[in-house]
């Protein structure tokens, strides 16, 4: 009883400190826990892999730096996969504050694979109004985005010559941290135009994605940092990339932190049970 009362009085700052240690130690000295890809991640990987070389993959950056640790590794891994397979890439975004991340990821990965802007990849950037953008691209991408992120007319970019609308996009991936994001693309692009799509979401939104996965509206799903590590694992296993894998490196810390939280939840509940029982006994007396 006294033990649990003592536990209940622990300053939360001590718990923060323990959590920090539990996260930092495996980052410095990794345990090398094995990470395997789930069938959901494999489905996204296989859909990208099945795009014929020369055809485009479209990626929407629907996140900002607040979700960078979860979604940015997904973006770089997918870009590496596509560029290694000579798949053309079109990147755009519904979140204005995510545009810097898109630019950074494209610059880094295109350099690794010697890809040329306008010929191998295009950055459309952001336009205001979510629905007009998604619906407009279903009719004509060039009318919705007359110019790219840098102000170049789309007609002047050779890669865009054969691309008119969603019918010319074999696969689309939204990297979504909320709204507008996955649900918006499903409602307006998938349901209306039949766009084949997958999603990479923050772990918070991953539970919401499963109903769409079950109905086939989503081809595959990458959920949170674990999803990113699964994609990193797949592209490394198939030899598409030798780059650093930040999400996979974080999996030891993630697992250990989860274990700590589980222990705290169990201890907290047992302690609460005994403290409440003790209080009830005192009241009876």
């Amino acid at each position: 009883m006294k033990f649990f009362q003592l536990l209940a009085k622990i300053d939360r700052k001590i718990i923060f400190l323990i959590l920090a240690v539990v996260i930092i130690v495996p980052l410095i000295k990794p345990f090398g826990l094995i990470s395997r890809a789930s069938s959901r991640a494999e489905a996204v990987f296989n859909a990208v892999d099945a795009i014929p070389p020369g055809k485009p993959l479209m990626i929407s950056i629907d996140f900002d730096p607040g979700s960078m640790p979860e979604l940015y590794p997904m973006l770089t891994s997918i870009l590496r996969h596509a560029m290694a397979k000579n798949i053309k890439v079109i990147v755009l975004g519904l979140w204005l504050t995510g545009m810097g991340l898109g630019e950074q990821a494209l610059a880094t990965v295109s350099q690794e694979y010697n890809k040329e802007y306008g010929k191998d990849y295009v950055f459309l950037g952001w336009r205001s109004g979510v629905l007009p953008v998604i619906l407009g691209m279903g009719e004509d991408i060039k009318k919705t985005f007359p110019t790219d992120y840098y102000g170049n007319p789309l007609d002047s970019l050779p890669m865009m010559n054969d691309i008119k609308n969603y019918r010319d996009i074999p696969f689309f991936i939204t990297l979504s941290a909320g709204d507008p994001g996955m649900a918006t693309w499903i409602a307006y692009a998938q349901a209306r135009y039949g766009l084949k799509m997958g999603a990479g979401t923050t772990a918070v939104s991953a539970a919401d994605a499963y109903p769409y996965l079950q109905t086939g509206q989503l081809t595959g799903l990458l959920g949170g940092m674990k999803g990113a590590s699964e994609y990193e694992f797949l592209i490394k296993e198939k030899g598409y990339s030798k780059a650093q894998t930040p999400a996979s490196q974080a999996m030891d810390s993630q697992s250990l932190a989860h274990l700590l939280i589980l222990i705290l939840i169990v201890l907290g509940n047992i302690g609460y049970f005994f403290i409440r029982k003790g209080t009830a006994k005192k009241e009876e007396k």
Binding site: F16, P69, R127, P146, V204, A206, S253
Partner: protein, 209 residues
């Protein structure tokens, strides 16, 4: 250890510590970082909006190419600012009405199709489900979950014995759903913390690769 030489990495590291200091208690360093974040986000948004929307979609067509039709969206957009003038505040209803009308018109059929009809199809037992016993089992559990949860949210009639039982089963499904969401939320928050530590240990201190 390989300390960063980039000044922006140092600024990022210090701002991270300023935000972390809130874990101890609210303080001026945290307030400074918080306000700086809001200010930078708004400034960045205005700049991107100007260069990606206002300039190419309004200023160039209207003032450089003389496409006078663009005056219509310009006037509609300016009506938003009528809110600051009490006598003309009603003008804000024009763009608001347009946005709401378009939004509702586009959203209702799309949401019905994507979130209700498709989800109903997913919940119904179809012949393909009988191809494997595990497919059938999961589909059956989903169907029971959908029906019982809907019964739980049916408040128009007092529950009798059978509907009460179904509603209680519905609560179990809801709790499992909440548990899954909470688990994923913990995972998300831990991921963000790991991201910050990776930045501090790799980009700033150069301890890890």
């Amino acid at each position: 250890m390989n300390l960063a030489t980039n000044i922006w990495t140092w600024i990022g590291a210090f701002l991270t510590f300023f935000i972390f200091s809130f874990l101890y208690r609210d303080n001026p360093f945290y307030k400074f970082a918080e306000h700086l974040f809001v200010g930078v986000s708004v400034g960045y948004s205005i700049s991107i909006s100007y260069h990606n929307v206002l300039y190419p979609d309004l200023i160039v067509p209207l003032f450089k190419h003389g496409q006078l039709l663009n005056i219509v969206p310009l006037v509609f957009g300016l009506c938003y600012f009528a809110r600051f003038v009490p006598k003309g505040a009603w003008l804000v209803r024009l763009p608001m009405g347009l946005v709401l009308g378009f939004g509702a018109g586009a959203a209702i059929p799309a949401t019905l199709q994507a979130s209700i009809i498709k989800q109903l199809q997913g919940a119904v037992l179809t012949p393909s489900i009988f191809s494997r016993w595990d497919f059938f089992l999961w589909a059956l559990i989903s169907l029971v979950g959908v029906i019982c949860t809907i019964i739980y949210f049916f408040f128009s009639k007092e529950r009798v014995k059978s509907t009460k039982f179904a509603a209680e089963i519905g609560i179990i499904f809801l709790m499992v759903g909440f548990g899954a969401s909470f688990g994923y939320t913990v995972m998300a928050r831990i991921s963000l913390l790991i991201g910050r530590f990776q930045f501090l240990l790799r980009d700033w201190l150069g301890i890890i690769k």
